[in-house]
Symmetry: C2
Subunit: 427 residues, 2 copies
C-alpha cells in the first residue's frame, strides 16, 4: 500500500523547506519519493502543515512517566536516594508496562517516532513498543556499586541477555544496547568483563557520563584521567556507542568523542532541573561531535516533548557559550532529527527517497506560529507538541488528526492513574 | 448575569487544590464565591480541569509578535541594531494593531488574562485590548540617547500623555505607566524632568534595568553606584514601579527592591535566548522582592505562553542558584499569577470571593499531565498553553472550548501574515 502525504511543505535533509508531497511505501516502511503531485492508494492530508522527520528522543527512561511530578525541586542525590530509587524499587513489571505505554502515548502525540531507553523489566517495554508502533533502542541499566558480587554479576548478565534477546524484535523496530548505568555506578572490573561481551553480541553501549561535577572528581582522582578517557580505556566509545549528558566535559574529551565517532545525547531540561550544569554544546558541535537530544525521564523534565527539548537546547546552549549566536535553531532541529538518529543508530531523521518512513506533520496554522518568517525557527522555539497532527513510524500511521490509532488513550491514562496511586500507597 | 464554573478543581490562593465551583458575577467582573454545588444563570464546564487564576505576563512588547522568528540567534546588540530596530522603524500604526491582535490572540489561547506592555503607537494597542477583552498596563517606551533634544523631549512627553490619556480605558481594563526604555537609553536629565510628571499623573514607572552585564558597567563608572541605586536616586523604585529583567543584580540591589517595594519582572526565556545571563531569582525571593514573570517580546522568546515561562523560570532559577531545590514549582506558579498581579498593579492573580474574575480552566486529561501526583508541578513543568480550555477576564468569557469569542482568529492570522510579508518587503 502506498500512502501519499499531500498538500504540505516538507523539511528537507538540508533543513530547507519546500512545497512537496511525500509518497510512503507502507509495507516496506520507507519513503519512495518526495515530489510534487504524488498519488498513492491512500492520502494523508498535510495541507497547512509541515512534514518533518519524526523526532528522536535519544535518551530517556520512558516508564518513569509514572513518576512525573512525584518528586520535584530536589538535588540529584537526594532526589534519587529519597524519592526515585525507593519508588523504582517498588515498580512491578506491570507498572513498567503501564508507565512505558503512558510515555509512548505522549511521544506519539508530540511527534517523537524513535527513542533510546535505559530501564529494567525491559521485556515489558519491548512489548509496549511492539504494540505502540514506535522504533526504539532498548537496554537494561546495570548498577554494580554497593551490591554483592553475585547480584552485580546477575545485573550485568541480564543487560547482555536483554541486548541479545530483543535485538530485531517488533519486526526490526526494536534494537538494543548494553547499558551500564554510569561510569561511577558500574565498577571498572565489570566494564572490563562485560563490554567485550556486548561487542561479541554486536550491540552498542549506552551509558550516562559526565552528568554532574561530582562524578568527575572521583574518576580523575582514582584513575588519573578524565571520565571519557577512562571510558575509552575500558573499551567504550566505539563509533556506535553513545553517552548521555556530557555536561562536564573538556575540549580534549570533545576531541576524543569526535575522533572515536561516539555520540553524546544532550538533555538540557534534565540538566537544568537537577542543576547539573550547562553542557558546552556549541563547543561539541565545533569539535565535530555527533549530538542528539534526549528528554531523560519524565521525573526530571517533566515531559517527553522533543519540541520543548529543542527550545531548551537552543536557549541553554547560548548561555553556556555566553553567545546568543551559539546553538542556533538549525542546530537543534538537526540534533532532534538526524543527530538523534545518527547517535542512536536508529533509522529515521531525514525525509528522502529510501529513508525510513518515520515522519510527522506539524500544523502551522496557529497564532504562536504566525507569521511564517522562518519555519525552522518555529520548530526550535515556538512549536508545541500539541501542534503535531499526524505521526507515522515505519510507514504506519500511529496518529491521525490527533487520534492515536495504536493505543486506547483513555485506557492508558486510567491504568497509569491507578498504577501511580497504588505505587504511592506502597512506597 | 452569574456564571458558574463547575465540576473542576480550583487552585486556591495558597496554591492548594480543592474540588470546587466558582461563581462569577459577569456584570461586575468579580468572583462571588468559591464553594461546592454552586448554581449560576449559566454554566461553564470545568470537569476534568483545573480552574486557576489567569496568568499575568508582566513584561512584553505584544506587537512584536509580528517579528516572531524574524531574526534569531544573534547577540542582543547586533539583533537590535541590524534587525529589530530597522524593522520597528518601518512599523505603521496598523502593523502595531495587527501585531498586538496576534499576540493577544496567542495570550488568550495560552491562558494569559493580563499583561504589561511597553511599545509605541499605543492607542492602537489600547483599541486592541478593548476589543480582545484582556486587562493590560500599557505605556509608550521612551529613548532619548542619540536623539536631538527636541525629538527626545517629544518622545518623553508622548509617554506622559499616553499614560494620562488611556489610564482607565476599556471600562477600566487598561491602566498605564510612564515607560522610559532603560537606565542606559534614557538620560538622567530626562528621568529628573519626567518622573515627577508621572507621579503627578498618578501612574507607575516601568523600565528595563540590569538586563545585560554591558549595561551595568557604564552606570557604575559614570555615577559611582549600581544601576538600581542610580534608579532610586532618580526618583524610581516607588512601590508601584516595576523593572524588567534584573539579571545582573547584587544582594544590595535586592534589598533595595525589597525595601522600596518595587517589583522585578523575570524574563527567563529572553535572558537565555539573548545570552543576557541568569537572574538570581531565588536570592530575590529570599530577600523579599516581589517577582513577576514576563515573556518579553515574541522576537526573543519566541512565544507568549506563560506556561513555557514558568518552566523556564523554575529551570533557570536552579542553574543560577546551583541548587535543584531553588525556585520550586510553587514559586513560579506564584510569580505567574499573584506575583505578576502584584508587580504590575493589575487585578487578578487569585481566585477568591471579591477578586477580579480573571481565570482560566486547564485540561488535565492528557498523557503529559498524567498521573496527577502534583498538579502545581504540572502547571510549572508540564502544562502546554494549548491545554487551556476556557479563558475569562473581567467576568467575560474570552475563549470557550478553545474558541476565541472576542476575535476572528482566521482573520487575525491572515492580516498578520500579510503585514509581516509587507514589512519584510519594506525593510
Amino acid at each position: 500500500m502506498e500512502l501519499a502525504v499531500t498538500g504540505g511543505r516538507v523539511l528537507m535533509p538540508d533543513l530547507t523547506v519546500a512545497r512537496a508531497d511525500v509518497l510512503v511505501d507502507a509495507d516496506e516502511g520507507v519513503v519512495r519519493e518526495v515530489g510534487t503531485d504524488l498519488d498513492g492508494d491512500e492520502e494523508l492530508d498535510a495541507s497547512g502543515g509541515l512534514v518533518m522527520p519524526g523526532l528522536v528522543n535519544a535518551h530517556t527512561h520512558v516508564a518513569m512517566s509514572l513518576l512525573r511530578g512525584y518528586a520535584d525541586d530536589k538535588p540529584l542525590d537526594a532526589w534519587l536516594q529519597e524519592d526515585i530509587w525507593p519508588a523504582e524499587g517498588e515498580l512491578t513489571p506491570e507498572d513498567v508496562r503501564v508507565g512505558a505505554e503512558l510515555g509512548m502515548l505522549e511521544m506519539i502525540k508530540t511527534g517523537t517516532t524513535a527513542f533510546a531507553d535505559m530501564y529494567f523489566h525491559v521485556s515489558e517495554i519491548v512489548d509496549a513498543v511492539a504494540d505502540a508502533g514506535l522504533r526504539a533502542r532498548l537496554g537494561h541499566g546495570v548498577v554494580t556499586i554497593a551490591k554483592e558480587a553475585d547480584t552485580a554479576h546477575d545485573d550485568a548478565e541480564e543487560s547482555i541477555e536483554v541486548a541479545r534477546a530483543f535485538d530485531g524484535a517488533a519486526d526490526g523496530r526494536v534494537s538494543t544496547a548494553f547499558m551500564p548505568h554510569s561510569l561511577t555506578t558500574v565498577g571498572s572490573d565489570f566494564l572490563e568483563e562485560y563490554v567485550p561481551q556486548a561487542r561479541e553480541a554486536g550491540v552498542p553501549v549506552h551509558i550516562h557520563a559526565n552528568e554532574t561535577a561530582d562524578e568527575v572528581g572521583p574518576i580523575v582522582e582514582e584513575h588519573g584521567v578524565r571520565p571519557l578517557e577512562y571510558a575509552r580505556e575500558h573499551g567504550l566509545l566505539e563509533p556506535e556507542d553513545f553517552v548521555a549528558h556530557g555536561v562536564h566535559t573538556t575540549p580534549e574529551e570533545h576531541d576524543l568523542l569526535a575522533e572515536t565517532g561516539a555520540g553524546v545525547v544532550h538533555c538540557p531540561a534534565s540538566n537544568m532541573k537537577l542543576a547539573s550544569g550547562m553542557a558546552p554544546v556549541q563547543a561539541m558541535l565545533d569539535a565535530g561531535v555527533s549530538v542528539g537530544l534526549g528528554t531523560d525521564g519524565a521525573a526530571s523534565n517533566n515531559d517527553l516533548s522533543l519540541f520543548d527539548e529543542m527550545r531548551d537546547a537552543a536557549m541553554l546552549g547560548k548561555l553556556a557559550a555566553d553567545d546568543a549566536s551559539a546553538v542556533p535553531a538549525e542546530a537543534v532541529v538537526q540534533m532532534a532529527t538526524q543527530g538523534g538518529a545518527d547517535v542512536t543508530g536508529l533509522s529515521g531523521g531525514r525525509i528522502e527517497a529510501g529513508a525510513a518512513a518515520d515522519l510527522v506533520v506539524v500544523d502551522l496554522d496557529a497564532p504562536h506560529l504566525t507569521p511564517g518568517h522562518d519555519l525552522v525557527s518555529h520548530l526550535a522555539y515556538a512549536v508545541m507538541g500539541s501542534d503535531v497532527r499526524h505521526t507515522l513510524c515505519d510507514g504506519a500511521v500511529l496518529m491521525r488528526d490527533r487520534e492515536v490509532l495504536t493505543m486506547d488513550e483513555e485506557k492508558v491514562l486510567e491504568r497509569a492513574e491507578t498504577a501511580a496511586a497504588d505505587l504511592t500507597e506502597r512506597v
